[in-house]
């Protein structure tokens, strides 16, 4: 490898201008890489004096494309099975309304996952994470949104359920929908000597009206 090839080899002798270009580029690249990695580090590290000092800069680099969270099963693994049910109120042609039975939305997800070596995101993530989104943006006492994204979460959850339930139940049009969330703590292993968990907690959401526009694009 000598100066006559087009490749940069470790032993190559560069001209002055080439040295200048390469030196500048090296300085920019090394410092840029260092700053980027520092920002990612401060993003994944616990909240600290340095990340508070440079919050805007770190967030500017990391959001939206380099956001990451590696607290996988940490500090503790999830120990609760959350399951969502929905029921609807339907209206007959004459105007009489009827409240239908609970439909196990999570139960259907689980049934699709059982025995499946490659579960779909539709069954494993869609409803599960939509509930996390709702839960994180609402006050569990009065079900009022606590952030501007709360309304989006409500729409999302409603549309996921409506897509699975359809426009009609028992030949009658869906008028309203209600969710019920049962949170059951996984009982500790028998050999751990711990006492069993308390009874599952049930949380009921208010009835939400269902309109034609809620079905838009659901197919």
């Amino acid at each position: 490898m000598t100066g006559t090839t087009d490749r940069a080899a470790p032993g190559r002798v560069w001209s002055g201008p080439a040295q200048l270009v390469l030196g500048l580029a090296a300085a920019v690249l090394v410092s840029g890489t260092g700053l980027f990695l520092a920002a990612v580090f401060l993003h994944v590290a616990p909240d600290n004096v340095l990340s508070r000092q440079y919050r805007d800069e770190v967030d500017g680099v990391v959001y939206p494309e380099f956001e990451q969270n590696w607290k996988l099963f940490a500090p503790n693994p999830l120990q609760q099975n959350v399951s969502l049910d929905a029921r609807v109120r339907t209206v007959a042609d004459g105007g009489a309304t009827r409240t239908r039975d609970w439909i196990g939305l999570t139960a259907r997800d689980i049934a699709a996952i059982r025995g499946n070596p490659a579960p779909s995101h539709v069954d494993q993530n869609l409803l599960r994470r939509a509930w996390d989104f709702y839960d994180g943006s609402h006050d569990p006492q009065d079900e009022k949104p606590t952030s501007s994204r709360g309304r989006l979460a409500e729409q999302y959850l409603k549309r996921i359920a409506l897509q699975r339930i359809g426009r009609e139940v028992g030949g009658e049009r869906v008028l309203e929908i209600e969710f019920r969330v049962t949170t059951a703590t996984v009982p500790p292993p028998s050999w751990s000597g711990e006492t069993g968990p308390s009874a599952p907690k049930v949380r009921e959401l208010p009835w939400w009206p269902v309109g034609d526009e809620d079905y838009r694009g659901l197919g």
Binding site: G3, T5, D6, R7, A8, P10, G11, W14, A18, V21, L22, A25, L29, V30, T33, V44, A45, D56, Y63, P64, F66, Q68, N69, W70, K71, F73, A74, P75, N76, P77, L78, N81, S83, D109, I113, R114, G115, P117, A118, P119, S120, H121, V122, Q124, N125, L126, R129, S148, L152, Q155, Y156, I160, Q163, P188, P189, W191, S192, R216, G217, G219
Partner: protein, 409 residues
Amino acid sequence: MNEASAVEPVEVPGFPRQLPGPPVVPPVPVAPRGPVAALGRAMGTFTGRALGRHQAAVVRIGFGLVWLAYLLREWPNRRVLYGDRSPWSMELAQRLLADDGAFTVLPWFGGRLWFELVYHLAVLAALAVLLGWRTRASTVLFLVTVLSLQNRDVLLGDGGDNVVHLMAVYLVFTRCAEVWSLDARRVGPGRSGVVLWALLGAALAICQAGDFSGDSLTWTAPTFPHIGWAPLFWGLWAVAGFWWLLGRLRPAGEPRAVLDALANMVHNCAMLVIATEVVLVYATAGWYKVQGSRWQDGTALYYPLHLDYFTPWPALSGLVGSALLPVFLISYATVALQVAFPFTLMNRRVKNVLLAVMMAEHLGIAVVLGLPVFSLAMVAADAVFLPTGALLWAAQRLGRLRRRLVGAP
């Protein structure tokens, strides 16, 4: 596009085209001592070689494969996940996107046709990345399609999607097709590169000029570091054109060698970022676990094995979590491994053993917890730390197997 790889003598161990000979080591001049000389040598390595090109190739193949498999697996569900039938309607998506400014081309036209086009382009891009075909262009298409689909509904993803998302960005900056790729096997630059370059330039110009792209292809961004997507795409496009032009006009000139050195430097920085990213994944996963009461009392492993969403095989999960001693040992070993990983990088042998254990653990997670995409993405990311010798050995075995199957001499 990736002209440089065509100029270099093809080195494809394990493939029948060429028998793997002894590696060509450039003569190292007897180096003077001292800090200045050391800096000079470091600079020589930094500019002169694409470090870890086999590892880069494996990461490229791994992520191309993971995303391709995912897209094909979800093909029947694609419209519900990212398309016109998504419960996360385009209107909801746009309200969130207006807030966080994530990059996606899907809202540009919204309808089904455009979505199908993007989804199938994503499949082709993943295949091209996997095969290493026109990698300079296909990694960019990979980036665009991965971000477009994932950012259409960020609420769908899990850790696996997150890793693919990050690597899709980092891979653009690596020279990941120097070995084990169609690019490396090509003799001469070929015609398709020029055609692809012109097509992509025209497509980019249309997107840039059209009103439909909204604020997604800006030159600057309102927040720090104030860089939009346009400089990246146009920059990559311009460099590819300049590279080709110099190859035609002055193939033996210094400017071409400077470009080659710049590409090496960018590659080396990107490989450092990929490696650090993997270290951060394990380090944070481990350090946060140390604080967890369930990891401390040694029962942590038991709980994920009893979550309905992560037990495709309840009998198997029950078996794994059935006895005190194995649950305790695996829980403690997991934390120890993850916390120790960054420090084992200083010792090759220990690092390799740990890497093998981690890959095995991820394969276990793939089956037991029903998370194959996440697990394979993690294995692909781990591959950046695999020793070159092991990769060459595996490639040779694969090549031999292939020859036996194809029946070639």
